[in-house]
């Protein structure tokens, strides 16, 4: 916002901006370490991006950042490493992502901690600021979203707040890079010691509590000399904070705090650790029984008092009629679900309609024209047939198909989805779906991880860290695969267009295909509820814990930025991954279709062997073989099926001719598949099986990393396959009964 950044000394501001060198990732060596902390959804990642020039994914919903991201910049000749932490309401970590934030602030020894504060909810945010102030003096408070605060009729006296907290307070709007120069200066001042935080102790504990703390601190200092904040640890131990007790018991408390050389400090002796816990337990006996409540209450009162002193009220409030009106539709009893489906259908319809033309253009360019051209080139340099076939008909063709099939839908779908995310729609979806998750014994935030799964299941599995109950988190991990991921969208969209959209008159084709894809996505959600329900009634027995979800205000999506980041980051990264997996898969397909055993190629043998099973499931051997070849990545299922169908269906496998392709558009693809014996049933079963089968290799690995359990990884891998086989078998038998 120009009104704010136009400082009287224009040249000065310019100069400072120039002195910021965005270094992006991994600085190697740095002069100081800065942590970004704050409540969820206050714009930490936006500040992080503004400082480092990185494009860490941002979105308008709480819990988006679950792991810490690192970046760097150079300012006034100093290299600064920045760590973006997951949002947390307090330092009493509940969930895995909050623990990351707490541990880093506590034991990571950042030189400066920037606490990003939502100016519209000062009171609640100050609670965390005060907690961090208790631990360290090296804090800078960044008052973000002051434009939104103004709309709410809130103005904050930053100078007064600075006095109250004893640390620099900078106002700004991170989305528009307002206030970044001032923030950099403040960070610099604190890091170099120019501005030394004043020792202020927010006196807020009763004398008896203070006495207990003073009694415990020397014991802690004795055993863990490296711990930077024994007072805080003492209070947490008196409060019987299980995480801190555990950190003391295992000695992790000492390990997390590194000494100045960066080496791990020696593990504290076991007797010492026991001594700390014993002392804490003894002192706790003397405290009043409602001690915990009193301490909590006092903490919130302190935040409330500070907020009341620095907020200037009486300003004119802007109307929030639009937000309220929109919410009354989007979360309505009657319209909530239909609107959700409609929005989803609209996104698919735009994707299907929009992707059709560029897809066939790419296919024409890369497959129809590119391949013969490469063959000509190869024969010009007299390449041996097997190398020519291996490289062009195997490796190149698989890659070309992946690009032609995947790039257009992704380039349309991702930006649309990101716009919805930026706008603030995802928490409303979570809210609408919560009651069903609750009935299934699952956590309401599973709806958010489900939405992440629509992008990528591996990302969805990591996102489950926002769920604090281990039981419910495990359910969310195991069932995330029922969210159709971007590797499977193209399959669904293509098959729906060819076989289901074609049933309708041509004007309605796109709509019918979109409806079919929405149907499959919905079935996935139903299966997610169903399997969550089964799990929480059997092996993961338990009741849903209470939960509350904040609905952030709607924010106008930043269209250009969204387009840029979602095309560059998400689309190209996913495409690159697909290509990486397509290259070896293409090679394998060419090899199995050109190595003959007993007169028939390996591919023919495998297809013939898998055919009976495939037919039982309404599909065929080609599809099953394609799924085996495509275990590394779902993205390449369709290209693999196409290549194998041509090969086996046309019976033109041998003689080193490789795989034949003479088509470019969706219509011709359909003809080809029909020639290969495909019916509507094949298409339906393929769509079902594409929804219900094992996760891709990346997701399986991620599940193992997150659960650290071979058992649950196996369950998560096999359960969907069993379901898929069952569903496809039943559909096929019923279908055949009706048809007969």
């Amino acid at each position: 916002m120009p009104t704010l950044s136009a400082s009287p000394c224009g040249s000065c501001a310019q100069h400072r901006t120039q002195s910021l060198v965005k270094l992006g990732l991994s600085p190697g060596k740095w002069d100081y370490l800065v942590a970004l902390a704050g409540n969820p959804n206050v714009g930490k990642s936006t500040v992080f991006n503004a400082l480092t020039g990185l494009r860490q994914h941002t979105g308008n919903w709480p819990g988006k950042t679950v792991v810490r991201a690192e970046g760097a910049f150079e300012h006034e000749g100093k290299r600064v490493k920045v760590v973006d932490l997951p949002g947390t309401y307090s330092l009493q970590a509940g969930s895995a992502d909050e623990e990351v934030a707490r541990d880093f602030v506590l034991f990571g020894r950042p030189d400066v901690t920037i606490v990003v504060v939502d100016a519209t909810r000062l009171e609640r945010n100050l609670n965390l600021v005060l907690q961090i102030r208790e631990i360290t003096d090296r804090v800078v408070v960044f008052l973000n979203l002051i434009d939104e605060a103004r709309r709410h009729g809130i103005a904050i006296d930053a100078k007064k707040l600075e006095k109250e907290l004893g640390v620099p307070v900078v106002q700004g709007i991170a989305r528009e890079s307002v206030g970044m120069d001032e923030l950099l200066d403040a960070v610099h001042a604190v890091a170099t010691g120019v501005h030394s935080g004043q020792q202020i102790r927010i006196a807020r504990h009763a004398p008896r509590v203070e006495q207990a703390i003073t009694g415990l601190v020397p014991v802690i200092e004795d055993v863990f000399p490296q711990v930077p904040n024994p007072r805080w640890v003492a209070l947490r131990l008196l409060n019987a904070d299980e995480a801190v007790q555990e950190a003391v018991r295992t000695g992790e408390l000492g390990q997390l705090s590194r000494d100045d050389t960066g080496d791990l400090v020696e593990l504290a002796p076991e007797w010492g650790r026991e001594q700390v816990l014993d002392a804490a337990m003894r002192l706790r006996w003397d405290l009043p029984s409602d001690f915990h409540d009193v301490v909590t209450q006092r903490a919130y009162e302190a935040a409330e008092e500070v907020a009341a002193r620095v907020q200037m009220g009486g300003l004119k409030k802007a109307g929030f009629a639009f937000d309220r009106k929109l919410d009354s539709w989007l979360t309505s009893r009657i319209f909530g679900f239909p609107l959700m489906l409609l929005i989803l259908a609209l996104v698919f319809w735009i994707t299907i309609e929009g992707a059709n033309v560029p897809s066939s253009m790419l296919a024409t360019l890369l497959v129809e024209n590119g391949r013969p051209l490469l063959h000509e080139l190869a024969s010009a340099v007299s390449m041996p047939w097997w190398l020519d076939g291996f490289l062009i008909d195997g490796v190149y063709l698989a890659t070309a198909w992946v690009i032609a099939v995947m790039l257009p839908p992704m380039a349309i779908f991702f930006p649309l989805f990101t716009l919805l995310e930026d706008f603030g729609y995802l928490p409303r979806v979570a809210f609408n779906l919560d009651s069903m998750f609750q009935k299934a014994g699952a956590h309401g935030k599973q709806a958010l991880t489900m939405c992440m799964g629509f992008g990528c299941n591996a990302a969805g599995v990591v996102a489950t860290r926002v769920i604090d109950s281990p039981r419910e988190r495990l359910i969310a991990i195991i069932t995330n695969n029922f969210s159709l991921c971007n590797g499977r969208w193209p399959t669904q969209i293509l098959i729906a267009t060819i076989f289901i959209g074609a049933l309708a008159p041509s004007q309605l084709g796109g709509l019918v295909s979109a409806a079919a894809v929405v149907g499959i996505a919905l079935l996935g959600i139903v299966m997610m509820f169903f399997s969550s329900w089964i799990l929480s009634r059997t092996v993961l027995r338990g009741e849903a814990t209470s939960f509350s979800l904040e609905l952030p205000p709607y924010r106008p999506p930043r269209v250009l930025q969204t387009l840029y980041t979602s095309v560059i980051d998400r689309t190209l990264i996913v495409l690159w991954r697909a290509v990486i997996f397509a290259i070896p898969a293409g090679a394998v397909i060419w090899l199995i279709s050109n190595i003959s055993v007993g007169g028939l190629t390996l591919a023919h043998h495998s297809v013939a062997w898998l055919d009976p099973l495939g037919l039982l499931l309404g599909m065929n051997g080609v599809i099953l073989l394609a799924y085996v070849v495509a275990i590394p990545a779902n993205e390449i299922v369709i290209p693999t099926i196409l290549m194998l169908t041509v090969l086996t269906g046309a019976g033109a496998g041998g003689e080193g001719a490789g795989v034949m392709f003479e088509f470019g558009s969706v219509g011709v693809t359909g003809d080809l598949l029909r020639d290969g014996g495909w019916t509507l049933l094949t298409a339906v079963c393929l769509m079902l099986f594409s929804l219900l089968h094992n996760p891709c290799s990346t997701t399986i690995y991620t599940i193992y990393k997150e659960t650290r359990s071979a058992k649950w990884t196996t369950v998560a891998t096999l359960m969907p396959v069993v379901m898929g086989v069952t569903v496809c078998f039943l559909v096929t038998q019923v279908w055949r009964l009706i048809a007969a």
């Binding site: 919410d327 009354s328 009893r333 009651s435």
Partner: protein, 97 residues
């Protein structure tokens, strides 16, 4: 968790305590107490749901879960949670006192 009530004047004891789940939409009330075990009350406190604060149910979801407005932000609860929030009506009488 039994946090101390915001103010405990004898004259106010006559007010009937309600559960948030019983409060009609758009009726602003004052939170008295959260009847939940500490580990479930803590997340609410962290989000600014504190005894003494004013809350107003603004919407309810397709399944009857409330959305409340508190301190300018919107929070979604489950019905079961709303049933554990003890509230009282804010009347003109009390404001005058």
């Amino acid at each position: 968790m039994q946090l101390p009530t915001a103010s405990t004047n004898a004259s106010e004891q006559e007010f009937v305590e309600l559960r948030l789940a019983q409060v009609p939409l758009r009726q602003t009330v004052e939170l008295v107490r959260i009847d939940l075990p500490p580990e479930q009350a803590e997340p609410l406190l962290e989000r600014g749901v504190l005894p003494g604060c004013r809350i107003c149910p603004v919407r309810s979801s397709p399944s009857g879960d409330p959305i409340i407005s508190i301190d300018g932000s919107l929070l979604a609860f489950r019905k079961e949670t709303a049933a554990c929030l003890c509230v009282r009506l804010i009347t003109q009488f009390r404001d005058a006192g």
